[in-house]
């Protein structure tokens, strides 16, 4: 679908535009990028930072595009039902003639949009959605964020190999992403020769629970380590509070978690309660690389000294970097097949380190950093203990469950 017209005639709800949108004026070329994210959802602040990161990338790198201009069209997908995202994606494709879509904060949003982009032949870059099998659902989906298996599986192996977690208990919020993390960590842990002592579902994602009974259950089993997954924000903050109240740090049970537990933007609110927490994640603002330092400096120059980017922010930033790569490669004339081809094997020096898109799975390959919450220079920050380099999505490598079968299920 050609959408290079300088201005679509948007009368009659775009009816005319759909039929007549031949390139009326060819320059400057405008590439329309639809951004469908849950701005008004519970994680609205996180989502807003993703969009800010996209705009920051555009500001810093805008000149590289020459005459081509990128226009962001922002839509609010509200609740994670999938239905709203699907409706908005269809609307953006047919009414607004977007060329590229950035969407999928939550997995259901991406899953619901997959058949639409397949049928309409549009590139969809996943901004966050971490269910592994999503990239199997459409040849036009590319993931620059992360898959939950990519994060939890290597940590399962690492837990046994480095900190020596002989006895480990997993705690997770009981919904699809949590169960994914459990399965991945368990798989990695068992590959390395361990057996999980216990796996504790800690309630659903609709309300933050009182974590006391769960943490007590962990403590009473006196394991070496616990591995925890909860969504970031209100959950981890309440968890840190209860963890401190029960003096869990003094029991000698090591805390390991996903990157959500050590999200950079929340460390100041934890205070000393979460000191010593370890996590495996794809990014921390304290990463000591020139690329990251440049990024953090630019971020704080734009959005204030107190604003700290976190992994969501970098997902948004890299999603826009991928858009730029596509626009540059195709000289602004976006064709979904060529765009996907351009992204396959794309190598990029991201703030989170070197990333590249695996041409076989269209999934990002990236480092996983083992992080620890420490106090440094009078503030709370992250020390990187270890780097697990160039991790591919293990779910697809091992062909587990839906990662193997999802492709055949949906056309």
């Amino acid at each position: 679908m050609n959408a290079n017209s300088k201005r679509s005639i948007n009368l009659l709800c775009g009816m005319a535009a759909f039929l007549l949108c031949a390139p009326l004026l060819a320059q400057p070329l405008t590439v329309k990028v639809g951004v469908v994210l849950p701005f008004s959802g519970p994680g609205g602040d996180t989502v807003e930072r993703e969009e800010q990161a996209m705009r920051l990338y555009m500001k810093l790198h805008g000149k590289e595009l020459g005459g081509t201009r990128i226009e962001l069209i922002k839509r609010d997908s509200k609740e994670p039902s999938g239905a709203t995202t699907r409706e908005l994606v269809r609307e953006l494709i047919f009414r607004d003639n977007v060329d590229i879509l950035l969407a999928g904060q939550f997995s259901p949003d991406a899953i619901a949009a997959a058949p639409v982009v397949t049928q309409a032949k549009k590139l969809l870059i996943l901004v966050n959605a971490q269910a592994s099998f999503i990239t199997n659902l459409s040849p036009y989906i590319v993931r620059v964020s992360a898959a939950s298996w990519q994060i939890a599986y290597p940590m399962g192996r690492y837990a046994i190999e480095k900190p020596g977690c002989k006895k480990t208990v997993v705690g997770y919020i009981d919904y699809a992403p949590g169960r994914d993390v459990l399965a991945a960590f368990k798989s990695g842990y068992e590959k390395a020769g361990g057996t999980l002592a216990d796996a504790i579902p800690m309630g659903g994602p609709t309300g933050v629970p009182d974590f006391t009974p769960y943490l007590r259950r962990i403590r009473d089993q006196s394991p070496d380590c616990m591995y925890i997954f909860t969504p970031g924000g209100p959950f981890t903050l309440a968890l840190a509070r209860t963890y401190h109240e029960l003096r869990m740090a003094e029991t000698g049970v090591k805390f390991l978690g996903t990157g959500d537990a050590t999200q950079d933007s929340i460390l100041a609110q934890y205070g000393e309660q979460a000191l010593g927490w370890m996590s495996g994640g794809q990014y921390t603002a304290d990463l000591d690389t020139p690329e990251n330092k440049k990024f953090v400096a630019a971020w704080q120059a734009e959005y204030g000294k107190d604003s700290v980017p976190d992994y969501f922010t970098v997902h948004g930033y890299d999603a826009m970097a991928a858009v730029f790569h596509v626009v540059k490669t195709l000289n602004g004339k976006i064709d979904a097949d060529k765009a996907v081809a351009a992204l396959k094997g794309w190598k990029h020096n991201s703030p989170r380190g070197p990333i590249w898109i695996d041409p076989a799975t269209r999934d990002v390959v990236q480092n996983i950093y083992v992080q620890k919450v420490v106090k440094m220079n009078g503030r709370y920050g992250i020390e990187v203990l270890d780097t697990i380099p160039a991790v591919r999505d293990p779910c697809k490598e091992l062909a587990i469950g839906q990662c193997a079968t999802a492709a055949s299920k949906t056309k």
Partner: protein, 338 residues
């Protein structure tokens, strides 16, 4: 049943006569919204998706009107029936591989209706706060059950693999949603006109009577619980059909279809339009969704405020909803000109 009808029907004319004449009589102006609905996708084919969404919620609100508006039962858990319908239609296709849409729709209506019959036979013994609480807890339980049973329902990640054959073997499900729009409109029209016909019937008159004065209706021999149960089952069936339309039009659902937010939203739509007048459900769904869409585009973070304010204002100033307000204005004009 027989007795109750006679009990409620004081005038002695048949339902068909009442439908054509009298208080609930048919008026020419009633063709207008339907003509508009048919013309809409022709004028704005790119808005068919939003239109389909509106039609589905109209049907859902309509189903709620049967029990809230006519029988005076307030529930905070109507999404349970919407969700049972949605999952029936979805599972029939995704798990059993049955792709014919209309039979899926009927199956969903039957499943939701059966669920309504079973739950209603218990719930309807209660009133007021107890009933509201029970519906809230019951729907929360259904939601949690769907989350626990994620192998079947897909849980938060959603039910994938809903695939539908062409409608009536003729119409493919196009991406722009014209087929879904026509499908949803047909189902809505059929349901609406059935209810519209029923609204003149002794049965619905009886429901109104129960809402106005239970004791008196009991005194004249209406089997109240039975009467309410029929209405509740009818309402659950229609809610299930709306859910099925939702599942089929989107070819995807998550357990969000069972959530409290949906129950609250549909109640809001109904109140907004006006309770107990069928057209209120249609107007309310339209205004709510369009307003939410508009507010969300203007300032996505704070669209909640606008919807909340609208609710408070409607309750305080226009307790009969938008249609009630319009009627009031019209009555005043008439009085003045007379």
């Amino acid at each position: 049943m027989e007795r109750s009808e006679r009990g409620a029907d004081t005038s002695g004319v048949s339902a068909a006569e009442r439908f054509l004449k009298g208080r609930d009589g048919l008026r020419a102006i009633e063709a207008l919204p339907w003509l508009a609905a048919i013309a809409f996708p022709i004028a704005f084919p790119d808005c068919a998706l939003l239109g389909t969404h509106v039609l589905i919620m109209m049907l859902f609100a309509l189903s709620l009107d049967v029990i809230v508006g006519y029988a005076g039962i307030v529930t905070l858990g109507h999404a349970a029936y919407f969700g049972v319908g949605a999952y029936t239609a979805g599972l029939v296709s995704a798990r059993l591989g049955w792709s014919e849409p209309i039979s899926g729709l009927l199956a969903a209506g039957i499943a939701a209706g059966a669920f309504g019959l079973v739950t209603g036979s218990v719930l309807l013994r209660y009133q007021h706060l107890a009933l509201i609480m029970l519906t809230l807890v019951l729907s929360t339980m259904v939601f949690e059950l769907a989350n626990a049973w994620a192998d079947l329902t897909g849980g938060w990640d959603g039910l994938m693999g809903i695939q539908l054959g062409p409608l009536l073997g003729l119409f493919e499900w196009d991406l722009r949603g014209l087929t879904s729009y026509g499908y949803a409109l047909t189902v809505l029209m059929a349901s609406f006109w059935w209810l519209r016909f029923l609204s003149a019937s002794p049965f619905m008159q009886g429901l109104r009577g129960i809402r106005e004065n239970r004791a008196r209706m009991r005194a004249i021999g209406t089997p109240i619980t039975f009467h309410l149960l029929i209405a509740f089952t009818l309402s659950a069936t229609l809610a299930g059909v709306a859910g099925a339309l939702f599942a089929q039009a989107n070819a995807f659902i998550t357990i969000e279809v069972l959530g409290f937010e949906r129950s609250a939203a549909v109640l809001t739509m109904l109140l907004l339009g006006g309770v107990g007048r069928l057209y209120g459900a249609l107007a309310g769904a339209l205004v709510f969704i369009v307003a939410a869409d508009w507010l969300a585009k203007m300032s996505p973070i704070y669209w909640e405020f606008g919807v909340g304010l609208l609710l408070v204002l409607v309750v305080l100033l226009y307790p009969n909803g938008l249609l009630g307000a319009i009627e009031r204005v019209r009555a005043q004009c008439r009085r003045r000109s007379a």
